[in-house]
Amino acid sequence: MKLVPMRRMGTRCNVIMEQPLFQHNKPGRCVTFAEYRDEGGFAALQKALKELSPKQVEQAVSDSGLRGRGGAGFPTGRKWSFVPRDLPGPRWLICNCDEMEPGTYKDRVLLEANPYSLLEGIVLASYAIGVRHAFIFIRRGYETATANLQRGITECLAAGLLGENILGSGFSCTIDVHSSAGRYICGEETALMNALEGKRANPRAKPPFPAVKGLWGGPTVVNNAESLANVPGIISKGPAWFKALARTPEAAGMKLFCISGHVVNRSCFELPLGMELGEIIEGPCGGMRPGSRFKACLPGGASTPYFSAEHWQVPMDFDPVAKAGSRLGTGGIVIFDQDTCLVAATLNLVRFYARESCGWCTPCREGLPYVVHVLETIEAGKGSREHIAILQDHIKLLNYAFCALAPGAMGPVQGLLNNFMDELEEHIDKQRCPFKARE
């Protein structure tokens, strides 16, 4: 775990920032249960179980303005409020830790350093929703994080922070870790529920929505790990405190930004929502690597349309990024320099999605390989104007796929056409990739 000195946090960031998620992190190792507890961990849980009703916990999360950190940015408190409390049978909470979006690694960094915030957040959310059995669905490859969570669960059970009658409150809750076997689509919440039930991880039709009919047919909330890990802070320090952590009044809280690509510091930073893109790159990222100039970036993971230099000053928050034509997504910023061929980059991205399609619906299963084929043809110097039309058709028609995977896959293609059409046309006009040396 690399910690970034505060002075690197950008020119306009002179005050010491609070970092609700990273505050307990220890260099080079995972925080211990005792350290977390002694540094004020589990205070939120104690407070909630003693002083707050489930409704009040939900209200605090609603008031905080916390929006889902998994990509869609749906207000977390509102999601909880959709769960009918009067249906018979169990309700379920699933923590989505199937982090497989290229360019995104925040959950791993978070959980390799500290599993306790998430566990505390899950118990708080379970209390708010009335869930007795929560699951953490974690991806293959995150073996250290999985081990941390499993150890943390054992410790919490021993300390009476989990299990039957938590802290004498009468509230009981267990957490199971479900370790997956590698498939991007498992991160889609309805596919995740199928995966968890031991079925093929095809997405389910909505409606019915998971909040009403989800896991094993019961009301279910699926929250991202980062969202849930923020709940303890909101409960202990209050919604107003959380909201004010953001840079802009419209935004709320801090966000884990994972940086990769052609910058100096490629790391995961906990930064205020609303920081400008350029500010993040020049500040915590330490600027572009020597010899590199900024050309483009994926602002929020592999499914988001590219930003170009003209987006330098876009505040990195859900609505401003959307207004600028892209999505904040997972906060995984992948930065490309002037030598990157964006046709090739887009080809890599769409190839990923074509391979990770579950195979349920035609547009995704057949349309994405078609787009791959078209991009391969253009990149190989055999493209024609008709190929641009085919790409445009696919950008439009892949919206009518069964789930959001295929439309997401077309995000970068749309970004390519919107912001880098000249580069695409150059490939076609010159009948070669301008970034490849002439043979």
Binding site: R183, I185, R200, A205, A354, R355, E356, S357, C358, G359, W360, C361, T362, P363, R365, E366, G367, P369, Y370, H373, T377, E386, I390, D393, K396, L397, N399, Y400, A401, F402
Partner: protein
């Protein structure tokens, strides 16, 4: 009842119907692959795109996924919706082989139809096609995975609808593969439906492989003769050869499907050893000679043993037309016995069932699907009526409780494989000791399924007490009709007649005289289309037409009369003609081997020759309603009067 507007046409449909079904109800066919009336929605193929112009939902939507609601305004001709549908076809054709000229599905292929309809004619995709290795799925079904368009119909039918567990979908993304873990015959007794349900040519019927095109087939609405349920079928024949059988939709009986027994056990129709020419002691003769000989033999029997020693024997497989004329033969010959059944047990069971099963109490297969409690008593569904097991499974999937009443003998008969076939039933059962252990009072739509046996009175009493509907499995396709006739004419079974030492000789009309009885009897004549032991023992053989070679009627296990139509000409299949006889040197206007006649027609002929002057009409008297039966409808459920129940 939601009201909506589709392409400017006002539509009203029942609650819960989709926009796709609503459009269909006013004659607008929206293309679809994955949606199927019996399987419901999947949303996988995305070809049923429409534009929602106004109402609660807007924009491009899949019409199969959207429940019709008040105020919806739908356009199926919207440019973007059409662009989407066209694009889906292009996507599906990227990998689909251009093997239509040698594909058995050609001409009856939904993908072919929609590709043509959508005008997709130019290939823009220049990459390679994805290919798969096919599997051996048994003797009946050919597998050609390259043609697959991944609509998931097959696996949804096989696993969800039919409860099979050995066939499914593997892989992900473009690697999706429908098949088994390894080569081997499909285990489900309903596997043949994959052929019908696949919208393209992944699963085709091996019995018809490379034999004909859809437009070449002789086809007509028909009824399956292999058990008492009367499932509706479309047999397909060409050049006097029955090539395959397709399920025909009848929501009151078999729904959309058919069991493998009904689909794949029809080779007897084409069998080379089938009797096709009248025979006297094995010698081929003309009809005239055969019938004259028959009359002579009947007279000889009368002289030798007395006319009363003769039995006229029909069967539960005989069409109602022929069965309803047997009594005339009985009268005119002066025969001592008239038997509609050979086996005493079958006669007894059919008699009891028809005596008790009134119109109200009788459960159709649709009733079984809609039941919330089903009791199984002394029945082997997979042996005696597989499609009823499929109907029970649908009820079970909807949450119905299925109880199986055990008896001391261990519930049910052993099936052919020596296995107790309840283990393979496609639903879970709760085993109870007796009918009284089943909480009928808690159920809104209880049904008792009874296989026949000594518990009949107990079952009837319980059904009467609880208001449960009753479904009984009988022996043959016309057991019900035969039992009604037996009652009307006071017939007993052949077994009983023989036991009473009344019978020395028989005229068998499509009946199977048990091998142990054959040595005791003189088989004067057999009317049949199958090469049975009885045919082999008969002095005179009169070839009849099989059910696909004539019009006819069966009355199924619930008392539903159903008409089947002539599909093909009787005669030797062209494939079976002796090539050494080419070119033909004997000149005849007849089709080779085409002398078979419907059993009822032969009976009329004999009766006339025996001296009857009367004009014999089919379905006289109380059977009049059967005369104008429509083969494409749901048939006629017999009234209590027709059932002889007061």
């Amino acid at each position: 009842m939601p009201k909506l507007i589709i392409d400017n046409i006002p539509v009203e449909v029942t609650q819960g119907k989709t926009v796709l079904e609503a459009a269909k109800s006013v004659g607008i066919t929206i293309p679809h692959f994955c949606w199927h009336p019996a399987l419901g929605k999947a949303g996988a193929c995305r070809v049923c795109a429409v534009k929602m112009v106004d109402g609660p939902v807007k924009g491009i939507q899949m019409s199969c996924m959207l429940e019709a609601q008040d105020g919806m305004v739908v356009s199926t001709t919207d440019a973007e919706a059409m662009a989407m549908r066209k694009q889906v076809i292009e996507w599906l054709m990227i990998n689909h082989p251009h093997d239509c000229p040698v594909c058995d599905e050609g001409g009856e292929c939904q993908l072919q139809d929609y590709t043509i309809a959508g005008g997709h004619g130019l290939r823009r995709y220049t990459g390679k096609k994805r290919t798969h290795v096919n599997q051996y799925l048994g003797p009946h079904i050919e597998h050609e995975m390259n043609r697959c368009i991944q609509c998931y119909r097959c696996v949804r039918f096989y696993q969800e609808f039919a409860g099979g567990t050995d066939f499914g979908v593997m892989g992900s993304a473009g690697r999706i593969y429908y098949g088994r873990v390894a080569d081997g015959p499909l285990e489900s007794p309903f596997a043949g439906n994959l052929v019908d349900i696949c919208p393209t040519g992944v699963f085709t019927d091996k019995t018809a492989r490379f034999r004909a095109r859809y437009w070449d087939y002789d086809m007509a609405p028909s009824v399956c003769p292999h058990c008492s349920l009367g499932c509706n079928t479309v047999p397909a024949a060409r050049y006097r050869e029955l090539l395959k059988v397709i399920a025909r939709q009848n929501d009151a009986v078999n729904g959309w499907f058919l069991c493998d027994k009904g689909r794949f056990t029809n080779s007897a129709v084409n069998a080379p050893e089938r009797p096709r020419v009248p025979l006297i002691d094995g010698r081929q003769v003309a009809w005239e000679e055969a019938l004259a000989a028959l009359l002579l033999r009947i007279r000889e029997i009368g002289t030798e043993y007395g006319a009363e020693s003769l039995a006229i024997v029909g069967s539960s497989g005989l069409s109602m037309e022929a069965a309803s004329l047997l009594h005339l033969l009985h009268e005119k010959t002066g025969a001592g016995s008239l038997c509609y059944f050979v086996d005493a047990g079958e006669a007894q069971q059919s008699a009891t069932v028809t005596a008790c099963l009134n119109e109200q109490a009788s459960a159709s297969m649709a009733d079984i699907q809609a039941a919330d409690l089903i009791a199984l008593v002394e029945c082997d569904l997979l042996q005696d009526g597989p499609m009823m097991a499929l109907a029970v499974r649908q009820a079970w999937r909807r949450g119905a409780k299925i109880s199986l009443v055990e008896d001391a003998a261990g519930t049910v008969a052993q099936n052919d494989n020596g296995l107790n076939s309840t283990d393979k039933l496609p639903f879970e059962v709760e085993r109870v000791a007796s009918l009284i252990d089943i909480p009928f009072a808690d159920a809104a739509h209880p049904v008792i399924i009874f296989g026949g046996g000594d518990k009949m009175s107990e079952v009837m009493a319980e059904a009467g007490k609880t208001g449960a509907k009753l479904a009984c499995l009988l022996g043959g396709p016309n057991s019900f009709g035969a039992a009604l006739l037996a009652k009307e004419y006071g017939a007993i079974s052949l077994a009983e007649a023989v036991a009473d030492k009344k019978v020395r000789a028989v005229v068998s009309v499509e009946a199977d005289i048990p091998p142990e009885l054959l040595p005791k009897l003189v088989v004067v004549a057999t009317l049949d289309w199958r090469n049975t032991e009885t045919v082999k023992a008969a002095h005179i053989v009169l070839p009849t037409t099989a059910w696909v070679e004539m019009d006819g009627t069966y009355i199924n296990n619930e008392g539903r009369a159903q008409r089947f139509k002539k599909v093909m000409q009787p005669g030797l299949p062209i494939k079976g003609l002796n090539p050494s006889l080419h070119p033909p040197r004997e000149h005849t206007p007849l089709v080779p081997g085409g002398q078979s006649r419907p059993a009822w027609e032969i009976l009329v002929d004999i009766v006339h020759r025996l001296g009857s002057e009367e004009d014999i009409q089919l379905f006289a008297g109380q059977w009049q309603r059967l005369r104008d039966l429509d083969a494409t409808g749901n048939g006629l459920l017999l009234t209590d009067i027709e059932r002889g129940i007061k």
